[in-house]
């Protein structure tokens, strides 16, 4: 299959990949640093070629509920936003999780809390991997570290969403969204003409009516549904953990980092190795499910683990749970839209080796 090579922003790559993946509908609301996505789609006019619906909603609240409606019809639908907008969507996201609907949500994260900043951050980790809205649920969370993965994860995200009837979030950040890199794009796929059997398509005489809902007033039945969801999440944890190792074989010091921070850490590993320090990087590609077994294994081998993230240390909690006290875990990161440099990361590593 011939893939087309293009130079694109991460945000543009998502939009183009969405068209090429045969997405049925995109519903979004402008917010920096991801407005290029809806702009790109409006300019590309896929509704004239593939028939993909593109609509600028009146709010993120409306956009995510349009996604609910489209997903309830069994269609491949998606939205994108950035942190404050994703916060507004949380109501819709928990209803989507509760109704077990497949969809794709891209968060091009910016610094918070509140309006915060429009610069890149990774401070929406808790919100993304722990649920985000009310109730016991999880999203499947993919963390791209390149423009290529921004494109590739659209199709992967839809595959996972439909396989598990679960919303999938691509947790990216302003840096990956805004930077340009080469990207290989898949050829145009046809939009699927078929929908799953649970979809609301109008009731033919030969089946029961389909109802999309997250409501169950009978507590015993609701608990059974909660248990069913947990069984689904357990299956996802069993089968869908994705990660990448960089120079981990002989590592004494392990960085755990995703997205932009992983790119910074990759350079920091090289700088450390130049100085004879055996550092390695474990990059979670899925943040839910989290590569806890892999971290657990490294905790038996390495001397220190560093959770490097552009937040106050949100992922560190999951790294510590996986390490379970076997080895010291430190957090290093910058916040507020500041991106750490490889030298800063290396200096922090060295300070912990010498115990400064």
């Amino acid at each position: 299959m011939e893939r087309e090579l293009r130079l694109m922003k991460g945000n543009e790559a998502i939009a183009e990949a969405a068209i090429r993946a045969g997405t049925d509908g995109y519903f979004g609301y402008p917010i920096t640093p991801q407005s290029e996505i809806v702009e790109y789609l409006m300019e590309a006019k896929p509704y004239e070629t593939t028939g993909m619906v593109v609509l600028q909603a009146e709010s993120e609240i409306a956009a995510i509920n349009m996604v609910y409606g489209g997903a309830g019809c069994g269609k491949k639908v998606m939205t994108t936003s950035s942190s404050p907008g994703i916060s507004l969507m949380q109501e819709g996201i928990t209803y989507i999780a509760g109704a077990e609907l497949p969809c794709l949500i891209d968060n091009i994260v910016r610094g918070g809390p509140g309006l915060g900043t429009i610069q890149p951050a990774q401070s929406d980790y808790f919100q993304s991997v722990k649920g985000g809205g009310h109730g016991d649920y999880h999203l499947i969370v993919l963390a791209p570290a390149s423009v290529q993965e921004m494109a590739d994860f659209v199709e992967l995200g839809f595959d996972l969403a439909f396989r598990y009837r679960n919303p999938v979030m691509i947790l990216s950040d302003g840096a990956i969204g805004q930077m340009m890199e080469k990207v290989y794009l898949n050829p145009q796929k046809e939009r699927s003409g078929t929908v799953p059997e649970w979809a609301t398509t109008g009731k033919p005489p030969d089946r029961e009516r389909n109802i999309i809902t997250s409501l169950e007033l009978d507590s015993a039945k609701q608990e059974l549904f909660n248990l069913k969801l947990i069984a689904k999440y357990d299956e996802i944890k069993e089968k869908e953990v994705r990660f990448e190792e960089f120079q981990c074989e002989d590592a004494e010091y392990l960085f755990v980092a995703y997205g932009t921070s992983a790119r910074v850490c990759q350079k920091a590993v090289q700088l450390a190795r130049n100085e004879g320090i055996r550092a390695g990087l474990l990059r979670p590609v899925t943040l839910f499910p989290f590569p806890e077994k892999q971290i657990e294994r490294f905790a038996e081998k390495v001397k220190i683990i560093f959770s490097v993230e552009m937040s106050a240390g949100q992922m560190k909690e999951d790294v510590m749970l996986a390490a379970a006290g076997r080895v010291p875990v430190f957090h290093f990161g910058r916040m507020g839209g500041m991106v750490p440099t490889p030298e800063e990361v290396l200096d922090f590593l060295k300070s912990k080796i010498t115990g400064d």
Partner: protein, 269 residues
């Protein structure tokens, strides 16, 4: 003295004047005695059946008393979060342009928490039907003040009557959407008398038939009662509604299509 005959003598097809609505399921309605929801459900089910639209209809139910509407009408349904039904319907219709899509929403759902979704879907001229049940109160949560509670009307959160100085004015949202270029047909009806049921059904049927034209949003308000929430008997509630609600929310069409645009194509066969 006429000869006494058994009831069985009358049960013949030629004597049938009324029957259970085919599209109503056997689930027991949870509504309070005298509530207008049951009647509104029934005429909606009748119209969908009579127009042969069971296979084409996709409904969106709200949060409020009619949250379980999906248990009563035998069609495909999606249950929306509070106020968001028009957003769901927007996507459902745009992704399934050949289907007949409608929302069924109460006053709190449509005119308070969902005002934005209501106004913007009507303003975009989304090609679906909004059915709006206005009883001036939050029935399901126990009788709190609604955006449409009329001045002086008592509720559990306006126990001394709605004080417009403190609580603001009732929102005539149907009048607002009638001014938007995106709406095609806007009507206000009631179902508290046999005559009004027939009129409401006529208006609803038109709104359903207009769906095949795809010329914009159709919006039918049904002013209704809430005997339990208003703390009245059903008869008192209907009388109170006539004397107090209807002067504030007068019945009739607010916006009708011009004659040349409203011809319904005969494309059913």
């Amino acid at each position: 003295m006429t000869e006494v005959t058994g009831i069985k003598d009358y049960i013949k097809p030629e004597n049938l004047v009324y029957s259970k609505t085919r599209l109503m399921t056997d689930n027991i309605l949870h509504y309070c005695p005298g509530c207008g929801h049951s009647t509104a459900h029934r005429i909606l089910a009748e119209i969908i059946d009579e127009e042969g639209l069971q296979q084409d209809a996709i409904g969106v139910s709200p949060v409020g008393c009619s949250v379980f509407l999906y248990n009563y009408l035998d069609i495909d349904w999606q249950e929306a979060a509070h106020g968001r039904a028009p957003a769901l319907a927007t996507a459902i219709k745009r992704l399934n342009p050949g289907k007949v899509v409608f929302t069924y929403q109460g006053d709190g759902d449509l005119a308070a928490i969902g005002t934005s979704e209501t106004i913007h879907s009507c303003n975009r001229g989304e090609n679906f039907l909004i059915i709006f049940i206005n009883n001036g109160i939050y029935g399901m949560t126990g009788g709190q003040m609604a955006p449409t509670t009329i001045p002086g009307m008592k509720s559990s959160t306006s126990p001394y009557g709605r004080d417009t100085g403190q609580m603001g004015y009732p929102l005539k949202i149907t009048d607002i959407v009638a001014t938007l270029p995106g709406t095609y047909y806007v009507s206000r009806q009631s179902v508290h008398t046999a005559l009004n049921v027939r009129r409401a059904k006529r208006a609803l049927r038109k709104a359903v038939q207009y769906q095949s034209l795809n010329r914009g949003t159709c919006f039918v308000e049904i002013v209704s009662n809430c005997p339990a929430g208003w703390k009245m008997t059903p008869v008192e509630a209907n009388r109170w509604m006539e004397e107090n609600m209807l002067p504030y929310y007068p019945l009739g069409d607010l916006k009708v299509p011009s004659a040349e645009t409203s011809v319904i194509p005969d494309n059913k066969e």
